[in-house]
């Protein structure tokens, strides 16, 4: 992760609950964020991401539980006594003030001399890449530009913590992807501890050092993007992040595999007893193609786990530029289809085509098994 040197905890959330009347929007949330880390809260709409962010900012203080920032207990402090900068989805730029006045809003009243303020504003505008826009009003800027100004305003006072609530989701797709990198670069340059709320998994995967996956007011998993992507701890996480194939099946092989249709497949180790209804999950890109042997011209691919192969028929193929999305079916796996992503190269080499038959290999370590309830209890 490359953050080893600054691995000390900066923000600590302990057993936070938040009630709105009878409804708990946050249930026993505990979390630690390291100094200079970029953390994303990721989850579906209504799962409590904003609520948690607002509790951290002190805007809607939690019902019970504590928040520590830099060793200090800030649980009950009003926002004005906490140390953070914030950017909202709506930008919340003051419409009647020019860009520079917006950025200088916090600086002006804090005993900084006017020339220094001007210098700082110019520096910040430079930093967000909008040095020419100082005299304009927010309404004269594009959405992406406005969001950058909001960002500049939030970091103007060099806060210890930067909070971003879906900062990019009001922007169109291109600008969004572009800004992702800028925000991330900026964060790295400043080394400011940052929490960003998003419901866009791609955004979270691309930007975060660590992702906090939330659902129904609880944290499902905390981990690096590769962790949550490759080692989801629950069906929810597996399903929510990235594409998955889900196979309804029975647990088998004493916690080392599954039975699906007539076939037994080895899987990553799990804790379910044989015969229990489970759901096995495999990502499309983890499926390894092997030609049908008869037709492929080259030497047959080496099959590393001969027991974990399935004979399939190619039902559909869709060219998505850098790879082929293929839908496969197999009587051995029951009624459903399996989606697999194959490289352009592999498809050409193995002459995979619609209607053809092919053998696929399912790497056991990539086949994850979860209990068959959709909502894991916590």
């Amino acid at each position: 992760m490359g953050q080893a040197s600054t691995a000390e905890t900066y923000l600590k959330i302990e057993n936070v609950w938040k009630a709105f009347g009878d409804f708990y929007a946050l249930k026993d949330i505990s979390l630690e964020v390291r100094r200079s880390e970029f953390v994303c809260f990721l989850g579906p709409s209504g799962c409590g991401k904003t609520t948690l962010l607002r509790a951290i900012a002190g805007l809607d203080i939690q019902t019970t539980g504590s928040v520590f920032q830099d060793g200090q207990d800030i649980s009950a402090l009003p926002p004005s006594e906490r140390d953070f900068g914030i950017v909202f989805q709506s930008y919340a730029l003051f419409p009647n003030l020019t860009v520079e006045k917006n950025i200088a809003f916090g600086l002006e009243n804090s005993g900084i001399a006017r020339p220094d303020i001007e210098k700082r504003v110019a520096e910040l505008l430079e930093l967000v890449g909008l040095p020419e826009q100082a005299k304009k009003y927010p309404a004269q800027l594009s959405g992406g530009q406005q969001q950058r100004i909001a960002l500049a305003r939030a970091i103007a006072m060099s806060p210890g913590l930067l909070l971003l609530d879906e900062p990019l989701s009001a922007l169109d797709a291109k600008v969004r992807v572009h800004l992702r990198h800028e925000v991330k670069d900026l964060q790295r340059k400043l080394g400011v501890t940052t929490i960003m709320v998003t419901h866009d998994q791609e955004e979270a995967l691309a930007m975060a050092d660590r992702i906090v996956v939330m659902n129904h007011g609880v944290i499902e998993q905390v981990g690096s993007p590769t962790d949550v992507y490759r080692e989801p701890v629950s069906l929810f996480v597996a399903d929510f992040i990235g594409e998955t194939n889900q196979l309804d099946c029975e647990a088998g092989m004493k916690g080392k595999g599954i039975r699906v249709g007539k076939q037994t497949l080895a899987s990553a180790p799990h804790t379910h007893t044989d015969g229990q209804q489970v759901i096995a999950v495999i990502r499309p890109e983890d499926i390894i193609p092997h030609g049908d042997g008869a037709r492929s011209t080259g030497a047959p691919e080496e099959i590393s786990e001969p027991g974990n192969t399935v004979e399939t028929t190619v039902d559909e193929m869709e060219f998505l530029g850098s790879f082929w999305r293929t839908r496969l079916s197999s009587p051995d796996l029951g009624t459903g289809q399996i989606v697999a992503d194959f490289s352009v190269n592999a498809v050409r080499r193995m002459e995979i085509q619609v209607g053809g038959r092919m053998r696929i290999e399912i790497p056991s370590q990539r086949l994850k098994v979860f209990a068959a309830t959709a909502e894991p209890e916590k």
Binding site: K27, P78, P79, S80, A92, F105
Partner: protein, 673 residues
Amino acid sequence: MSSTDALGPNVSADSRIKPKLGSDDWIMRGYMIVLAVYLVVALALPLYAMLSKAFETSRFDLAQFEVQVSDESGAFNQPAATLKQLNDKSNFVAEGDLATSSDGRLALTNFFPDFSFRSPVKYRLRGLDDNAVYLVGSERFAGTKPAEFDSNTFRKVVIRPIQSHGLANFATYFSTPALFQSIQNSVFIALVSTVITVTLAFGFAYALCRSCMPFKGVFRIIAMAPILVPSLLPGIALVYLFGNQGFLKQFLMGESIYGPIGIVVGSVFFTFPHAMIIILIALSISDARLYEAAVSLRASKWRTFWTVTIPGARYGLISAAFVVFNLVITDFGLPKVIGGQYNMLAVDIYKQVIGQQNFQMGAVVSVVLLIPALIAYVVDRLVQRKQVALLSARSVVYQPKPSRRFDLSCLAYCALVALFIISILGICQYAALVKFWPYDLSLGLSNYDFDRMDGGGWAAYRNSIMLGLMTAVIGTVIVFTGAYMVEKTKGFTRGRASFQFLAMLPMAIPGMVLGLAYIFFFNNPANPLNFIYGTMAILVICTVTHFYTVSHLTAVTALKQIDGEFEPVAASLKQPFYRLFSRVTVPVCLPAILDIMIYLFVNAMTTVSAVVFLYSSKTTLASVAVLNMDDAGDIAPAAAMGMMIFYTNVAARLVHAVVSRYVLGKTQGWRQR
């Protein structure tokens, strides 16, 4: 879900986080409480004083006192007797006369027919309980201590009534046909005026909204003109047109303009703009797609009108109806001027208080008047809420298509209505300039020599402008900051809800009721605020309070349109809320703030009902002067003064337009892209 909720934390009182309030929170809550106290003092307490007055009865309790009379030598040989025993024997004071007002006094000599102040006879008086109160001259005595008086002093002894609470005053009210007839009259007039006004206003709004006729802007301005004059001005115009010397008198075919006809016509005039604007908004937000659907279904125009237009505007129509009803039933100026012998509730309050000095009965009539006003208010609020819901779901704006016949009939109709409004104003202006109606029709300015008339003269006009300016400035500050606190304070739910309630209340209170309530509250010598009675300050407070609600709603609407995240951002930048307020909130809301100012100014210039009880000889007002000059028979000067108010308001509106434009250009450059 339930299984997880069952895991809810053991929320004991000490594990619950108690948010620490920042200095902003303290200031905002503190300020909100200050404003709430203001509203309590300016509204709730006076109303309470009035209500308790209405339910309070005073009665002389003769069983409270015992008198013993000496013989001529001063020896007390006769046994003592209570006044009740004396009265039961000879009925000196009729049973009905024992009911009195809270100021009532009853002389003891009433009970001694052979009393002479020269006689050497002495009297020994004793109260029988601690509440027995009597006065000797102006000195007050209470309790059971006996006292002895010679005859000369005894004639100055009066007893005071005891107070109790109950419905006795209402019993008196309803057993006085002359009084409760007014209920029927008021409701009748209000209903008739409502039907006529809403119908006329609907046609007008419909033409403005759905036709392609020319001069729409001009018509709109003319339709709004009645707002700029006191409600009694159309009464004066009607007197000139149809009164005893009116040149159109024969049109009434023997009916008198003084009475229901005059009140209804005048009411239609002064309520027209209120109804028109409400309906216009309702019509302009209804969805054009419904019309397109109707056209595609080949529905006839008539059918479309009844199935699309009317239902779409129903909330507007209902709201307009209740607003008009409320305005008419609570109006005082117009029936005072043109009502003749036809009694209306609002005028009854005035007559009871000013004419007969019977404050208690004034309070009773006020309570009676409060009931329909409250109902109309509640219905209007409910309907408005629905309309707002409709508004947020709205979509496509209707674009009328030209149609020669329809547009021409709309034009003709609007021209007629406009003619009505202009002629009412025109006749007032003409009458004001004519030297001696109807004998000498040459023009001159003699009627403007207000200083020669009763009513306050030009000073009244200057006072009105002063009142208008002070109300506009002070009122806007109070209203806008109050609305800001309600909208932007965090937590403190109950405090905010109470404030909101207080802010909405004034709209439900008729002006006459408010004014009378002020008398009860502020004219009480025991009230430490008694000193503002009879000053300009009480007029300003009363007027701000009277027109609080509409201003408050304007401010709230403007504030709701501001991004709710500004406060969090400012807090994160360690900026106090008042810096955000002055740098951002106020500039962004400036158009709404100016609207509130002009609203308060215009209303302060035209209002009569509340202030008619509160002005003093140093603080006479133009609108009250119109009333008083009319009352004194100086009708032409009254018309002249009324038109002065009109021109002043027109000028104020022009200034408002110019300032708005200038300010918008200067501070709101950001609005244009």
